[in-house]
């Protein structure tokens, strides 16, 4: 009796297993990302669209927390040989990923799987951040932004200052005059605040003025590079901000964006520098005054300013999967780059469309006439062909380096160090990090 029951169980089991084996299951592609809340929903919609568009592959998107946590999850999974196919990594992790030996370069993936991609159709200032020294794309740009300058239109009007151009940047001297007027007339408690000080005031300042941030073409050409941020121009810029801090033309609001943004929204500061992703946030939060955006200021001596550089994250394809799965990955990445997806992504999140096609498509449909704010960042990014200096930064232990720069700048703002001392020490401390990084990979 018992034996026959056993037979039935086995038979039923086999019956259940067969359909799964006979009908070809779609190949699963795992994508670990750091996009949460509103952005997470946009990502989910994009994945859904892809899954609906074909039946061979199923992309599964999993949020692994913030950028640090996502990268860590990827690292841990790779060590346990359970890595996802696609991992989203923030821009400062680029060098670590590139040197890791754990990635399948995107340019190679695309050509291996027979996708003929016209890379010249992509925004070059975005691509160049993720290329190796030979100009090969290592990871697929996903969410890219750049810093711009927001200002309080009502305050400007009150002080009799004309609204700023959305294309031509004002000079730093002009900004000094504007903030002076605003503060002296008691229209604004303080002049400007800045989010992400290392990114906006040193990394982007250097790129826009074509000043090397680090030797070896900002680290692109060799890991044996050193920071060069203690140069005369950057020191002078920080000196200026520190002088402005004394007469309230500059106010320090914290390392990230929350503090500075709060100061701008509370109308404690008339000018606010932050990523273009601030557009959506300000639209939601500001109710009681008018604001607008302009490109970041440049030095009067800089007649044709360079492009600004990006921040954000890109998609890395990890090693250790089958060819069939990589075909799915390539198809998915290609799908993400199409006009429809790019314009959806851009409209919903404010991050840049990564192809010129998508940009022109939106332009043709009149999107930028209705949303002129969105052009400020794109124009600033595209106003020049990236040089070997303005194409991006390629540094090991970049997270620590940004921390060091933040720390040293704070010592300038609270008067403990002079700009020269602080930047010298930032460079010296960062060079130790760079040395250790290079030693690890040699």
């Amino acid at each position: 009796m018992r034996l026959s029951r056993m037979c039935i169980v086995v038979f039923v089991g086999i019956c259940l297993a067969i359909p799964a084996a006979v009908v070809a299951e779609p190949v699963t592609i795992n994508w670990w990302h750091a996009m949460r809340s509103a952005r997470g929903k946009v990502v989910d919609t994009m994945i859904e669209e892809f899954n609906k568009s074909q039946s061979e592959y199923v992309v599964v998107g999993i949020n692994k927390g913030n950028y640090d946590e996502t990268m860590n999850a990827g690292v841990a999974a790779f060590r346990a040989k359970k890595q996802p196919h696609i991992l989203q990594v923030f821009e400062v992790g680029t060098q670590t990923m590139m040197q890791s030996g754990a990635v399948y370069p995107v340019h190679k993936l695309m050509s291996d799987t027979g996708h003929d991609i016209k890379w010249s159709n992509y925004l070059q200032a975005v691509l160049s951040y993720y290329m190796d020294a030979g100009g090969n794309l290592m990871s697929m740009p996903f969410n890219s932004s750049t810093p711009i300058m927001y200002y309080n239109v009502d305050m400007f009007k009150k002080a009799g200052i004309e609204p700023l151009s959305k294309i031509d940047p004002i000079t730093w001297d002009e900004l000094g005059d504007i903030t002076k007027k605003l503060v002296e007339a008691d229209i604004a408690p303080s002049g400007m605040v800045t989010a992400w000080q290392s990114w906006t005031q040193i990394e982007n300042y250097s790129a826009i003025h074509n000043i090397p941030f680090a030797s070896q073409a900002n680290g692109y050409e060799s890991m044996d590079c050193e920071l060069l941020i203690n140069n005369e121009q950057v020191v002078k810029h920080i000196q200026r901000l520190s002088d402005w801090a004394k007469d309230k033309r500059f106010m320090y609001g914290g390392q990230k964006y929350q503090g500075p943004k709060a100061e701008f929204i509370a109308q404690n500061a008339a000018v606010y520098m932050d990523s273009v992703s601030g557009i959506a946030k300000l639209k939601k939060a500001v109710k009681d005054f008018k604001w607008d955006a302009a490109p970041l200021p440049v030095e009067a001596s800089m007649k044709s300013p360079q492009n600004s550089i990006i921040g954000g994250a890109s998609l890395w394809v990890l090693n250790g999967h089958s060819d069939k799965e990589y075909e799915g990955v390539a198809a998915f990445l290609n799908f993400l780059a199409n006009n429809e997806m790019q314009s959806y992504w851009h409209k919903e999140t404010g991050y840049f469309p990564i192809t010129i096609d998508a940009y022109n498509d939106l332009k043709g449909k009149g999107y930028y006439d209705e949303n002129p704010l969105q052009t400020v960042g794109i124009d600033q990014l595209n106003r020049a062909v990236p040089t070997t200096i303005s194409r991006g930064l390629r540094l090991g232990y970049f997270v620590q380096i940004r921390n060091i720069i933040n720390e040293e700048l704070e010592l300038v703002w609270n008067g403990k160090k002079s700009p020269q001392e602080a930047l010298d020490s930032a460079a010296e401390r960062s060079n130790v990090q760079l040395k250790t990084f290079a030693k690890t990979y040699k």
Binding site: G101, A266, Y397, N403, E407, T436
Partner: protein
């Protein structure tokens, strides 16, 4: 004669302690040994290559003036947290030990903050003391005329995280002091009172010495708490800033290892941290415990 009970089977006792030994080995010794090994290596996060570099990570650490500063900050911070929370815990316990009308209610309310996670406690204090939106901070700057700004001023930031960390630990200390106080024989206090000793005198001459075991235990626990568990407070409130002025050791381990992915340096820091805490605990047991009276 001390009463002893012995196991008849030689295997059973070992079997009984086995689960605890397995847990300790897997969750304490194994990671500790891993950390120790990792601290002598330079390796990339993906584990593709690693190199034995002897004491390179340690040399880099101890030649970094900021690391030494971080050790100093950690000591200042933990001594501040331990003394604030122990003093206030003791004070509140002494007050609450009197005959009150709603004793149970008062005690429960005083114990509550211990249930708050450090990160939450940090956020709560940040909401009060942030220079841009903190209610108390606005008051301090407006009415006291101070220039309170923990975003920029290192000392202010230190005061803020000390308060946030000590606040919830006060409850913990309160519970132990409360228990300790109830164990003090009433007869001694009454006798002293009849002899004309003032309340303060009674406290210093009788209660305080009898509380010394509790005191000792709490000083160890509070220092360990401020070394490790205050991570949540630092992470939510200052992230080690401004200018590295609240960058305590455990936060630096996290920053360098988890965020920066420099596993070698981070492991070396963990080893240093582990050695420090072992050293402190041993010192406490050797020198402080001698002065402790365990029985009246």
């Amino acid at each position: 004669m001390i009463k002893r009970s012995t196991f008849k089977s030689p295997v059973l006792p070992y079997l009984l302690i086995l689960p605890q030994v397995v847990i300790t080995l897997t969750f304490f010794y194994w990671p500790a040994v891993q950390g120790l090994i990792q601290s002598f290596l330079l390796s990339d996060p993906f584990g593709q290559r690693s190199k034995f570099v002897w004491f390179y990570n340690y040399i880099e650490l101890f030649t970094d003036p900021l690391y030494l500063k971080s050790i100093l900050i950690t000591f200042t911070f933990s001594i501040a947290v331990a003394s604030v929370s122990i003093c206030l815990g003791l004070f509140i316990a002494t007050m609450a030990n009197r005959a009150l009308r709603a004793t149970a209610l008062v005690r429960t309310l005083l114990i509550w903050p211990y249930a708050v996670a450090p990160a939450i406690s940090g956020i709560l204090w940040l909401f009060l003391l942030h220079p841009s939106y903190g209610v108390v901070a606005l008051g301090i700057n407006k009415w006291l005329g101070l220039n309170w700004n923990p975003v920029l001023n290192g000392t202010d930031a230190m005061v803020m995280i000390t308060m946030a960390s000590a606040w919830k630990q006060i409850s913990y200390n309160f519970v132990f002091f409360m228990a300790g106080l109830q164990a003090v024989p009433k007869s001694l206090i009454e006798a002293a009172a009849i002899d004309g000793a003032s309340p303060l005198k009674r406290f210093w001459a009788i209660t305080f010495p009898l509380l010394s075991p509790t005191f000792f235990f709490l000083s160890v626990m509070n220092i360990i708490y401020s070394f490790f568990e205050t991570f949540g407070v630092i992470h939510t409130v200052t992230q080690g800033g401004p200018g590295g002025s609240t960058n305590i050791l455990v936060y630096k381990v996290y920053q360098d290892g988890f965020v920066g992915l420099n596993l070698g340096s981070s492991s070396a820091q963990s080893v240093v941290l582990m050695s420090l805490i072992i050293l402190i605990t041993v010192l406490q047991f050797r020198y402080v415990e001698k002065k402790v009276q365990y029985s009246g």
